[in-house]
């Protein structure tokens, strides 16, 4: 057992923190909420120059070849500052999925472009009537028998950065067995395809999420990712990586909330003393510390298991269920401790409080993940009950 970051990871963490502190202040986060694109191209290119987009992409495809733990450390720092960039979507939902399930041709085409920052991707998964998951996907892909092309029709919701996505990873129904495991295929769809239209969804966090309509969208057979009706396995594993990546960002965000609230409690004087000297405030902050650290431990362990190729469904869901509660609870207590200043929109805290709800819904809420764990628990056999 070795729970330390190695030297490179420490360096990555420090350089990411320094860089983001300078390049991604809260003013940029606010500005991007108003901005049509919703991300700073300048920041994006600088991140690419630092090699971040290629961090987990193998060297042969233009990346650095690091593993998921390294990515988690980087994402934690991005979460600290609520970096408004389509990083998770492009690198994890897009790049890592292509790396895991794509053909050699697809890898050669997409991965170097992702690594260099010239390609933005987004996952088109959720649909009307679905909150999260792979069940009841209605978007359909049908094959044109003559040319072999696919035609996709359907509506996707909550697709992040859809308006700037160069490619979508679209989950579509191609089979009719009634079992999601056998009916889904994945498609890499060019964002400029004329059948695609995007409309912005106004969310609590003013982030960039879209309704995306696929209307007779033609896709070349070579852009199917994995085999026909073979999408489920690839996307299931991809979603586990996305869940953990989302957790890492939430850990960073919750750490920042705890830190700013602790600082505030030390400085804010009421009744002639810092409010942080009152036990009622101390105990809230102590509970936040317990929860935030717990979220980090659970996230790191699940990331480690994923990077080792170990079965990890329970651990991933445990991390997300806990991270959701942690980030939301941290924000709720932080608002209370900050009092009037905390509800002032010029203050940074509301940015986090609003983002906590978006993050909690992304890749499954706590109820979803607790149910996943329960399913695993009930499927276990007699003497292998314990986790270890």
């Amino acid at each position: 057992m070795d729970l330390a970051l190695n030297e490179q990871q420490e360096m990555l963490k420090k350089s990411a923190r320094d860089f983001l502190k300078k390049e991604c202040p809260a003013s940029l986060v606010r500005q991007m909420q108003e901005d049509e694109k919703g991300y700073s191209l300048e920041l994006w290119h600088k991140m690419a120059d630092l090699g971040w987009m290629g961090l987990v992409i193998p060297q042969e495809y233009g990346g650095v070849g690091a593993d998921l733990i390294d990515l988690v450390i980087l994402l934690e720092e991005m979460g600290q500052v609520l970096a408004p960039v389509p990083f998770l979507q492009t690198v994890v939902s897009g790049g890592m999925t292509i790396l895991a399930g794509g053909s050699e041709e697809q890898k050669k085409y997409f991965l170097p472009k992702i690594a260099s920052g010239e390609l933005i991707m987004s996952l088109a998964l959720t649909e009307p009537g679905i909150s999260y998951g792979l069940v009841n996907i209605a978007t359909r892909a049908t094959k044109d028998e003559a040319g072999g092309e696919w035609t996709i029709d359907g509506t996707k919701l909550f697709v992040p950065y859809a308006h700037v996505a160069d490619y979508f990873l679209c989950v579509a129904r191609t089979g009719d067995s009634g079992e999601a495991q056998q009916d889904l295929s994945l498609f890499l769809v060019d964002g400029k395809n004329p059948g695609i239209s995007c409309s912005l969804l106004q969310t609590i966090a003013s982030d960039k999420q879209f309704e995306v309509t696929f209307d007779s969208v033609r896709v070349q057979p070579g852009n199917m990712l994995g085999g026909l009706n073979g999408g489920w396995g690839i996307i299931s594993q991809s979603l586990e990586r996305s869940v953990i990546s989302q957790c890492a960002m939430m850990v960073g965000s919750a750490q920042r909330v705890l830190e700013m609230t602790t600082d505030y409690a030390k400085e804010r004087i009421q009744f002639d003393r810092p409010i942080g000297s009152f036990q009622v405030i101390q105990h809230k902050l102590a509970d936040m510390l317990v929860e935030v650290n717990g979220a980090q431990y659970l996230t790191y362990e699940a990331a480690w298991r994923l990077s080792q190729g170990l079965t990890t469904t329970e651990e991933v869901s445990a991390a997300k269920a806990w991270a959701n509660q942690t980030f939301q609870h941290a924000c709720a207590e932080a608002q209370q401790i900050h009092g009037g200043y905390g509800i002032d929109m010029e203050y940074d805290l509301p940015l986090y409080t609003r983002q906590a709800e978006v993050a909690a819904q992304s890749f499954g809420d706590a109820y979803f993940h607790r149910e996943v764990i329960a399913r695993q628990l009930c499927a276990r056999s007699g003497d292998s009950l314990s986790w270890r």
Binding site: M1, D2, L3, A4, L5, N6, Q9, I69, T262, A265, K266, R273, P274, G276, S277, Q279, I281, Q282, H283, L285, A286, D287, L289, V290, N293, G294, Y297, L298, Y300, E301, W304, R305, Q308, E314, E315, S317, A318, A321, W322, Y367, H369, R370, E371, V372, I373, A374, R375, L377, C378, R380, L385, S386, W387, R388
Partner: protein
Amino acid sequence: MDFGFTAEEEAFYREVQDFLKNEVTEELIKETEPGPGPGPHSRAFDRKMGARGWYCITLPKEYGGLGASYVKRFIMDDELTYHRASAVMKVAARIVAPTLLHHGTEEQKQYYLPRIARGEIEFALGYTEPQAGSDLGALRIRATEDGGDYIINGQKVFNTGTHHADYIWLLARTDPSAPRHRGISLFIVDAKTPGINLRPLWVIDGERTNEVFYDDVRVPGKNMVGEKNRGFYVVVSALAFERAYASGGVRRIFDELVEYARNNTRNGVLIADDPVVRQELGQMAVEVRLAQLIGYRIAWLCDQGITPEWQAPVSKLFVTELMQRIARVGFHILGPYALLEEDSKWAQLRGKISQLYRHGIRRTISGGTSEIQRNTIAARGLGLPRK
């Protein structure tokens, strides 16, 4: 970063499991449950642990330990508690040994440590007094110098294990004129010394604890641990924070609840199919896992030479409050059957849920209340001011 066991840790884990499969009996388990205290089976079990060097494995070899890592110790503690071979923390191995190692004289080390390592002697804490609970600095019991000895007079309360311990790890006031935290010294008192009288106190989970009366109890001066009037600081020093609370107990009862839900129906429906129960089990699974990760994190920090000043209170807080949360889920799953005592015809899970609930209440109080743990976490983990 590597959350897995090394080959050596894995081998040790297997060895501990094999040992426990052979040695843990129903009689032993019965003795470790809250009640009158350890009996002959516990004593025999402790000696067997001691013979392997496992009773206090982190002690250096020269004092009879194995010089093993804290991670190994946590592996063992976690399995011991999972197998219900040890419900309570061993005071001698967990508090006395590390403190003596750092603050004891060589003579004290030679005299006590090897016997602790062999599992031959046990200590009881003598801290709490009627007016000094969370506020330990308010203790009044007096130790008056007399020649080279000290004479102890006064009263302690809620001193668990004093009735079967060989020694008492006693805090007493040696300078009433000094500021209150600076007039306290730490003593090792032979429990058989004349003048010590006990009155049993039975607490909510069925555990026996004691009122202890000291009437002219003579203690040799060489039994003082650390400097005179520095006892309070010795007790609350870093060494007291070496403890990671083993999570095996909560893991075990959780596993039993899952099994129960999978195999029993209520109102005609399999309990494990109830969506509310499934949410609760999902949540408890997360927290049981986290309790274990917190423990391993602390053990690993200790192995790095880092004092887990606020992480150890986190472990105490989280594991003991988790006991109450699991009991709450257990009450939901078992319904009114959870109310029944073990001997009842209709009792389920041998009455363990109501027992856990009562035990959880005791454990969030004893060894420092949850509120005191949160104070420590706030002060040491976040640097929040006292005033």
